[in-house]
């Protein structure tokens, strides 16, 4: 639901006049989530130009692929697109997302813990960015995750060891100078506090 509450702070005599502008034309939960990402990113090459939040669903947006039967987002392919800015927690709402490909950009900030809600996620490629913070412990919930590459970032803390993480090798994590492990994997409990 795109709710743009454009109440202009003029005087309280006008308080209720402008809230009507929020008329809910179309619900587009997944589109809203992706649009939140667009708003959070700098996009010098305009690769996100086609992301029109007024459409019923985001399935005709470039770099977004949907499951044709249900029109749910299954892929996000934004590798090597010169994007900068931060990831947004709203991405966790893309329930059917299988492939999140955001490699080789200039993304900064933390990996939102909400990505741990992406139960269908098969592949998560965040390599070659400038992401900081820890790998959220919620990622141990990603039971379908087969491919993970967060190498070449600035992540810290320890690597989750349970769930899908038991099968990832060192290559998934290399070149994060402050990331503990992976030689400690399986021996050190996940520790949120160890990362500043």
């Amino acid at each position: 639901m795109v709710i743009s509450c454009r109440r202009v702070l003029l005087s309280h005599h006008h308080l209720l006049l402008l809230f009507l502008a929020l008329s809910a034309i179309d619900a587009n939960l997944e589109g809203d989530a992706l649009y939140a990402l667009r708003r959070s990113l700098n996009d010098p090459e305009n690769v996100l130009q086609s992301w029109d939040p007024t459409l019923v669903d985001p399935c005709t947006w470039f770099h977004v692929t949907c499951d044709p039967a249900h029109n749910r987002v299954t892929r996000l392919d934004l590798g090597n697109a010169k994007l900068s800015g931060k990831l947004v927690p709203e991405l966790g709402k893309l329930e059917s997302l299988q492939y999140l490909e955001l490699y080789m950009n200039n993304l900064t900030g933390p990996i939102p813990a909400e990505l741990g809600q992406l139960k269908s996620l098969v592949s998560l490629d965040l390599y070659h960015n400038d992401l900081t913070g820890s790998i959220p412990s919620s990622f141990s919930n990603l039971s379908n995750l087969k491919f993970l590459d967060v190498s070449n970032n600035d992540l810290c803390g320890t690597i989750p060891t349970s769930g899908a993480f038991s099968k990832f090798t060192q290559e998934s994590f290399v070149n994060n100078s402050r990331l503990e492990g992976p030689e400690l994997m399986g021996f050190v409990r996940y520790d949120v506090g160890g990362c500043k």
């Binding site: 639901m1 005087s11 809910a24 034309i25 619900a27 470039f62």
Partner: protein, 972 residues
């Protein structure tokens, strides 16, 4: 100077007293500066009527010398145009000069400072420009100076601090810049200081605290910064303090609570922090308190509820936390407006709100309030607006809502409300806006809603309403927005909806509506958006819909509608048009090309016939064209080349013929080109490879031939490349390795030949599938393929690949599907291949090891080396000559039988079927000269290298194998 000369001349030449005469002529000079006088207020200003004291707007006072003194000139509100005459400065006895509310332009003459007696200078509401002359600061008798609502620029002259008798200084609504001069603090008589709506910056000077007579101080809508000086609290007489919409920061001084006369306090739209001082509750005369749009935190002080005179309490858009204080209405008998929206308030809505008996507007939206809507709230009979949206309220909507007979706006959307919408809602005859979307309301929409005769906007989106749309909704003559999307509504669309002539948006999508679209909808001539997608509507479109000429957006997709869409194609204002997934037939109407702003046209998955209309070329704004899954014939019309904004072109699954048009390469924005499953023929046009923004290129299942040129490497953005099922031949160009963003690559079922280029290993993002199956590829599998570390499916089956499988392939841990069957691969399989079914490697007669048969059988005769075709032939020939002869005989008989079966059109599978899902099989040796000959390789393949499972018997002279050779050869 010429003016003075002129006056002197007049004085000398006339017999009248100099004073009198000069005033007369000065006024005539003043008159000249009023270029237009549409109301003729200056009609009596004439030399023929020399008694100027009787002129409109002129007042004189009698004097001892019998010569009247002009003391007041008041031409306000007279629609005068022109400018301020400098001659005004020659009227030294003026006490009042009022030219306000005209259309005067130009500067304020600095010489007005000569009017030393002036007490009131009123020039407001004109179009005066330029700076305020600092000289005005010498008008020491000035009590009222109002020059606002002009185009004045520059600073407020500090010299105004000299105007020690000034009571009112009005400078609002100009574009004054700079700071508020501290010198104003010397104005001890000043009661009204009105500076709002300028571009003043800097802090509010402490010195203003010395203006002890101040009653009104407004500086809203400027760029003032810094904190609110606590000294202002000493202004004991202040009644109005309006500092709204500046960039003031810091905390609200607790001392403001000492301003006992304050009636109006407005600090909205600043950057104030900290908590709301409890002391504000001491402002017992306060009628309006607006602190909204700041960064205030902490809890709302319950003490505010004791302010008996308060009418407006507005604390919205802050960071306030905690519960809404129970005491907020304890003594708030005058409170009419309580606005607490957009904070982080939590807990329940206090029942005590019902004590605010005068409440007209209650806005608690956008908080985190939970619990039920208290029944007591429905006792607030005066309520016109109740906004509780965007909370986590639960429970149901009480039938007591009927009490709120004055309600105009009811916004309960985005909560967790359950239960039904009570029929008592029908008692709300003044209700204009009813928004309950995004809740879990269920049951039927009450028919009584038809009694809400003032309803304009109804949004029930995202609930679980069931049953029919009440027929009574047709009584809502004011309705212009009806949004019932995503409920469980069933039955037919009521024909009565056609009576809601004001409707501009009708959205009934995502329900279970059935029946046909009523013809009465054709009466909704104001309709701009019609959304009926995802229902079970059926039948033809009524011809009456052709009256809907104002439609901009229509979406009827995913229904069972059929017939022609022509009735919908009359509007010339379409922006989007979507009827996908219906049973519409006939040709696509040419009129669809009449909407020059159309951006998205989706007609996919219908039964449209005929050709793609050329009029689509008129749609210059068209960005998405989806005609997939129809029965369209003919060629792709060249006029589409005019649609330069096309980003998506999807013509999949039609009967289109002819070549892929070369002009597609001239669509600069094209991102997706889908032409699969048509009858397109010819070769790939070179221009196609100019589409450097192309993300998806789907050309599978056509009859394309020729080669795949090296220029394919120019499609650098490509994610998906699918040429499966064509007749492309020649080598796979090594430049394909440049498509670094590919996640899917299918070149299967063509006639590609030559080796797989090693550059394939550069496709680091290849993920979903790499499928080169059913080609004539030869040579070895490049070891670089093992670098495809994300690849999930690899299919190189049914080629003529030779050599050992590179060990790197066994290390591809990402693979979930592997098919290398039916090649000429050889050698012992690495242990790591044991995880795959045998079908992944079948039909490679020189491969052995798990999951295929043990290598020992072959090793015993063949030593340690890998098996080569010739050695096996020789060895086998020696060791099992007799068996082989038997086999050949048996196979020949069998094959003859099978050949006949094939001629009858039946296709049988081989005894051991490949795991691949492809049902079709292609001949193994397309290029074999004698197709009817049997070769060793065939037999060895057919028996899985004489595997034990094919033994049907054995005797002293050898073993008899049963073999079935492959069906579906091309015999023609």
């Amino acid at each position: 100077m010429p003016l003075l000369l002129l006056l002197l001349l007049f004085a000398l030449s006339s017999g009248v007293s100099t004073q009198d005469n000069s005033t007369l002529h000065i006024l005539m000079e003043v008159k000249k500066s009023f270029l237009q006088d549409p109301l003729n207020v200056l009609q009596d200003w004439s030399l023929h009527n020399p008694n100027f004291c009787a002129w409109t707007g002129v007042s004189c006072s009698p004097t001892s010398s019998l010569q009247p003194r002009l003391v007041a000139l008041d031409l306000s509100n007279s629609s005068l145009r022109g400018s301020l005459s400098p001659a005004l400065a020659l009227l030294p006895h003026l006490l009042l000069l009022n030219l306000s509310s005209n259309h005067l332009s130009g500067p304020i003459p600095p010489t007005l400072s000569n009017l030393s007696s002036l007490e009131s200078l009123l020039l407001f509401s004109n179009q005066l420009s330029g700076p305020i002359p600092p000289q005005l600061g010498s008008l020491l008798n000035l009590q009222v100076l109002r020059i606002g609502d002009n185009f004045l620029t520059g600073p407020i002259p500090p010299s105004f601090g000299n105007l020690r008798n000034l009571v009112t200084l009005g400078l609002a609504s100009c574009t004054l810049t700079g700071r508020i001069p501290p010198e104003l603090g010397r104005l001890a008589q000043l009661q009204n200081l009105v500076l709002q709506q300028n571009q003043l910056d800097g802090p509010i000077p402490q010195e203003l605290a010395n203006c002890s007579s101040l009653i009104v101080f407004t500086a809203a809508l400027n760029r003032l910064n810094g904190s609110i000086p606590s000294g202002l609290a000493g202004l004991n007489n202040l009644r109005t303090l309006n500092l709204a919409n500046n960039t003031l920061s810091g905390e609200i001084p607790t001392q403001l609570g000492e301003m006992s006369q304050l009636r109006y306090l407005n600090l909205l739209g600043n950057q104030l922090q900290g908590t709301i001082p409890k002391s504000l509750a001491n402002l017992t005369d306060l009628q309006s308190l607006d602190l909204s749009g700041n960064r205030l935190s902490g809890e709302i002080p319950g003490e505010l509820g004791s302010m008996g005179q308060l009418v407006y309490l507005v604390l919205s858009s802050n960071n306030l936390t905690g519960d809404i204080p129970r005491g907020i209405c304890s003594n708030a008998s005058s409170l009419e407006y309580l606005m607490l929206a957009q904070n982080q308030l939590s807990g329940r809505i206090p029942t005590e709100l019902s004590d605010c008996k005068s409440l007209k507007q209650l806005d608690l939206s956008n908080n985190t309030l939970d619990g039920f809507i208290p029944e007591e709230l429905y006792e607030l009979h005066q309520l016109t607006d109740l906004l509780l949206n965007n909370n986590t309220l639960s429970g149901s909507i009480s039938p007591f809502i009927a009490n709120l007979t004055n309600l105009q706006t009811l916004a309960l959307y985005q909560n967790n409300l359950k239960g039904s919408l009570p029929k008592e809602v029908g008692m709300l005859g003044k209700l204009q806006i009813l928004y309950v979307y995004d809740n879990q309301l269920s049951g039927e929409i009450p028919v009584e809603i038809g009694n809400c005769s003032s309803l304009q906007m109804v949004d029930f989106f995202g609930n679980q309403f069931t049953g029919q749309i009440p027929i009574t909704i047709g009584r809502l003559k004011q309705l212009n927005f009806l949004h019932l999307r995503q409920n469980d509504l069933s039955g037919e669309i009521p024909a009565s909806l056609g009576n809601c002539h004001q409707l501009t948006i009708l959205d009934l999508a995502d329900n279970r509506l059935s029946g046909s679209i009523p013809a009465t909808l054709g009466h909704l001539q104001a309709l701009e958006q019609l959304m009926l997608y995802n229902n079970s509507l059926q039948g033809n479109l009524p011809d009456e819909l052709s009256s809907l000429t104002n439609l901009t957006r229509i979406n009827l997709s995913h229904n069972k509608l059929n017939g022609s869409i022509a009735p919908l194609c009359t509007s010339r204002n379409f922006l989007s048009f979507d009827v996908t997934n219906n049973g519409f037939d006939h040709e696509i109407p040419r009129q669809i090309g009449n909407s020059p702003a159309l951006e998205r046209l989706r007609l996919g998955n219908n039964l449209f016939t005929g050709q793609i209309p050329w009029t689509l070329g008129l749609l210059q704004q068209l960005s998405l064209l989806d005609l997939s899954g129809n029965l369209l014939t003919g060629q792709i019309p060249v006029q589409l080349s005019l649609c330069k904004r096309l980003t998506h072109l999807d013509l999949d699954r039609n009967l289109l013929s002819g070549p892929i048009p070369f002009w597609i390469g001239r669509l600069p924005l094209l991102g997706e080109l889908k032409l699969s499953a048509n009858k397109l023929s010819g070769s790939l046009p070179q221009e196609l490879f100019n589409c450097s923004n192309l993300l998806v290129l789907s050309l599978e299942d056509n009859s394309l031939n020729g080669t795949l040129p090296p220029e394919v490497g120019k499609l650098k953005s490509l994610n998906v490349l699918d040429f499966n099922g064509n007749q492309l031949s020649g080598p796979i160009p090594p430049t394909i390795g440049q498509l670094s963003k590919l996640y899917l690559l299918r070149l299967s079922r063509n006639s590609f030949s030559g080796e797989i280029p090693a550059e394939i290993g550069q496709l680091q993002n290849l993920q979903s599938v790499l499928d080169f199956s059913y080609n004539n590829l030869s040579g070895r599998i490049p070891s670089s393929i093992g670098r495809l570390s994300k690849l999930e499916a690899l299919d190189l089956s049914h080629n003529a690949l030779v050599g050992e499988i590179p060990p790197q392939v066994s290390e591809m841990s990402s693979l979930g599907r592997l098919n290398l069957s039916f090649n000429r691969l050889q050698g012992k399989l690495d242990k790591r291949y044991a995880r795959w079914p045998a079908t992944a490697f079948d039909g490679n007669w020189n491969l052995c090891g798990s999951p295929l048969q043990n290598c020992k059988d072959i090793k015993s005769a063949n030593g340690e080396t890998g098996l080569s075709e010739s050695s096996v032939v020789i060895i086998s020939a020696i060791s099992t000559t007799f068996a082989v002869i038997l086999l050949l005989l048996g196979a020949a008989l069998f094959f003859k039988h099978r050949r006949e079966a094939l001629r009858r059109g039946s296709a049988l599978d081989s005894a051991y079927s490949s795991s691949s899902s492809q049902a079709q099989r292609r001949p193994l040796f397309d290029n074999a000269a004698a197709k009817n000959d049997f070769r060793w390789i065939d037999i060895m393949e057919a028996t899985n290298n004489l595997s034990e499972e094919f033994i049907i018997g054995s005797g002293g002279s050898g073993t008899i194998y049963k073999a079935e050779l492959f069906t579906e050869r091309r015999w023609q």
